[in-house]
């Protein structure tokens, strides 16, 4: 049974506000017109997730989370966007036209799927001592919209950023329901993300080098 306090504490209010910012950034990514803006939005979203880690660390007195927040800031706000932007230097960075639907349709679909995720998780009666359930629902919505981003945008940058932001959604979920997860495990997750980013970057470059485009429209040779 979910116990809902009559007035949300400043703690739950704060976490939910940050979670909402993360979700709204995900929506903004759906319509980002250039590779540069897409990656900046990712950096901003990562900043919000790092801020959430600091907030949880401060209010729940989990000192390890400060280390995680710092690592997350360095890697996801500075290093990853830096690497991706560097790899894309010299490419035609315009992503306009990679939308499979109009912006309005995409946002409506995203709203629908977020609501679905939010309420499905709400029905799970997941409640944590460390953080309130709505933030977990918002994290699930971020994960689902990240899938939409990958499905509805046909360019390699949006698809890669879709994966990175999915990881942000999962990080947020872990802060919400599993804040005490051992630091070594969290660091392993982050390290893995770094390796994945490099491989994504290498493949993006190879793709651009072969086709002179960031679009995935030409990736249709292998069928059946």
């Amino acid at each position: 049974m979910v116990v809902v306090p009559p007035v949300p504490s400043s703690f739950s209010g704060g976490t939910e506000a940050i979670a909402l910012v993360v979700l709204l950034t995900e929506f903004a990514m759906l319509r980002a017109p250039t590779a540069r803006s897409q990656i900046r939005l990712y950096a901003f979203q990562s900043l919000a997730v790092s801020a959430l880690a600091v907030f949880v660390a401060a209010t729940q007195h989990i000192d390890e989370l400060y280390v995680l927040a710092a690592l997350s800031f360095v890697l996801k706000v500075v290093v990853v966007p830096g690497i991706v932007l560097r790899l894309l230097r010299g490419t035609r960075a315009d992503l306009a036209g990679s939308n499979r639907f109009g912006v309005a349709t995409m946002v409506l679909v995203a709203i629908g799927i977020s609501v679905f995720g939010f309420f499905v998780v709400g029905n799970l009666s997941v409640h944590s001592h460390s953080l309130p359930a709505p933030a977990f629902g918002l994290a699930t919505a971020v994960i689902l919209v990240a899938f939409l981003l990958v499905i509805l945008r046909s360019d390699v940058v949006s698809q890669a950023v879709g994966f990175f932001s999915l990881e942000n959604g999962v990080s947020m979920a872990s802060l919400v329901i599993a804040a005490g997860i051992p630091l070594i495990v969290e660091v392993a997750f982050l390290f893995d993300l770094m390796v994945a980013v490099v491989v994504f970057g290498v493949l993006m470059r190879v793709h651009h080098g072969r086709g002179r485009t960031l679009s995935t429209e030409a990736l249709d040779r292998l069928r059946g």
Binding site: V170, A178, P182, A188, F189
Partner: protein, 484 residues
């Protein structure tokens, strides 16, 4: 035997680093030595109940060893095959660089797959499997053709998204455990299994579905299998063999670890139903797709989807004999699919194409690997005396003992359909007269040797599995909750 775990953890990794800098002759020898060493150590671990190292961060029990043997066997045999398959570089600098990268990648890939059953806990398991993805995606792209780049991109993206879901599953399972252990704890298996009965049922259910969906993406379960045929067909053949024979198995291992916890927490009905749905979809769709393939390696890729469906269906049966069959199937599939891909590699070398409409008279052109490829395909079709016959026989026996015995009928129909597709194309390409101008002869003795080893293992598993292996399979089935 803790030292054996440490050697497995270090040897392939070290060889990978050396291969990046060493000449190709040294890479070949070192890769073979490392493969054989890993396999021997995996076999030495068989009698022990559990072995741990590094203060419990590494731990193998019977279930882990089954999968470790599948990975190590294929690593060793692929090392033999790769000696014959990778052409000598000569004086060309870029070819030498390709070879070095290839061997470094092959060892790193084998290392990451061996680490998955070695590590103790759901979190580190996820890390190991994510590493397999990034390494193998680079190996799929290594040929640097348009098709290889496309396959690698799709593979990396789809598998990474799947693993994102698997990470979510891990975190939800962590949350389920925090109701017992409090805020901070390690996700070690014995610890989780000991108290899984106290976890909140709906949370465990949610986590299990996410895990099957997430790791199922890597395992090639329909409908999240779409990367698999592309990656298997475009990767260099030794990598295709490892992708199919061991990588899919390792992902299945991850699902089984979640299954283990879920069964203790909420009983076996729910997880079995979930696996049944994915298993039937995979088997039926793959059997239908098999009938319309034109590319030899894609044909074997869809056969892998079919066999992963068989594994999932096997786990959905309640009879313990079916679970033993599933675990034997993992080993037999590794041997059979490895051999089949080695045969495909031999055909590719000989005819210069994977297009089955342009391959004729395989048996005439390839006096050794041709017939062995046909035998491997018969093995994949579950013909006696090969291992897959025995494993599918056990699974079907378990299915007939199950209240839902109609599933066993679906299984038999699906496997038969798949057999039709596989045997039709194999007879078209291998059992027809050779076209003029094709010189009879093998391209490399190493390719033949690797296929002989694969077929011998497959036959051994079918005719008379060693006593200690049977004991291992029963112990592993017991760990999965199947008690006779």
């Amino acid at each position: 035997m803790g030292w054996a775990l440490l050697v497995i953890m270090t040897a392939p990794f070290a060889v990978s680093v050396v291969c990046y800098f060493a000449p190709v002759q040294i890479c070949r020898g070192l890769t073979l030595a490392s493969g054989v060493l890993t396999f021997v150590l995996a076999v030495l671990l068989v009698p022990a109940k559990t072995t741990t190292a590094l203060s419990g961060w590494l731990r193998v029990d019977a279930l882990s060893i089954v999968f470790l043997i599948a990975v190590a066997f294929l690593y060793a045999v692929t090392a033999v095959f790769a000696i014959g398959y990778v052409l000598p570089a000569g004086g060309n600098g870029s070819a030498a660089r390709y070879n070095r990268r290839f061997f470094a990648g092959l060892n790193l890939f084998a290392w990451s797959m061996a680490m998955a059953p070695l590590v103790n806990g759901l979190a580190l398991l996820w890390v190991a499997i994510e590493v397999t993805t990034v390494v193998s995606a680079l190996l799929v792209a290594i040929d640097d053709t348009d098709s290889a780049t496309e396959a690698a991109w799709k593979y990396l993206l789809i598998a990474s998204m799947g693993l994102g879901i698997a990470l979510f599953a891990t975190i939800v399972m962590y949350y389920a455990g925090s109701s017992v252990f409090g805020g901070s704890y390690e996700l070690f298996y014995p610890k989780l299994l000991g108290v899984a009965g106290h976890f909140a049922p709906e949370v465990v259910r949610f986590s299990f579905v996410l895990a099957v969906l997430g790791y199922g993406t890597k395992m090639g379960l329909v409908p999240v299998h779409t990367w698999l045929p592309d990656a298997h067909s475009e990767a260099p053949t030794p990598i295709s063999a490892m992708l199919s024979g061991s990588l899919l198995a390792v992902s299945f291992y991850a699902i089984l670890r979640f299954y283990q916890v879920t069964v203790r927490a909420i009983g076996s009905t729910f997880p079995r139903n979930v696996l049944l749905a994915f298993g039937v979809a995979s088997l039926v769709l793959a059997a239908l797709y098999l009938a319309r393939q034109r590319d030899l390696k894609r044909l074997f890729a869809y056969s892998s989807v079919e066999h992963m469906g068989v594994l999932a269906i096997g786990m959905s049966f309640s009879a313990p004999i079916a679970v033993v069959g599933v675990l034997l199937h993992v080993l037999a599939h590794a041997a059979a699919k490895g051999t089949a891909f080695f045969g495909a590699g031999s055909v590719l070398r000989k005819f210069g194409t994977k297009d089955m409409s342009r391959i004729r008279g395989g048996i005439g052109a390839l006096p050794w690997s041709g017939p062995m490829l046909v035998l491997a395909v018969l093995g994949l079709c579950a013909m006696p005396p090969f291992g897959i016959f025995r494993s599918e026989f056990l699974i079907v026996s378990g299915g007939l003992a199950d209240p839902r015995d109609v599933v066993a009928a679906v299984l038999i129909v699906g496997v038969t359909l798949a057999m039709l597709g596989l045997s039709w194309f194999t007879s078209q390409t291998m059992l027809t007269p050779s076209p003029e101008g094709v010189v009879r002869g093998e391209t490399s003795v190493w390719i033949v040797v690797s296929m002989v080893i694969g077929l011998a293992a497959l036959t051994l598993l079918g005719v008379h599995p060693p006593g200690q292996l049977s004991d291992l399979l029963h112990r592993a089935a017991g760990e999965l909750g199947a008690r006779p």
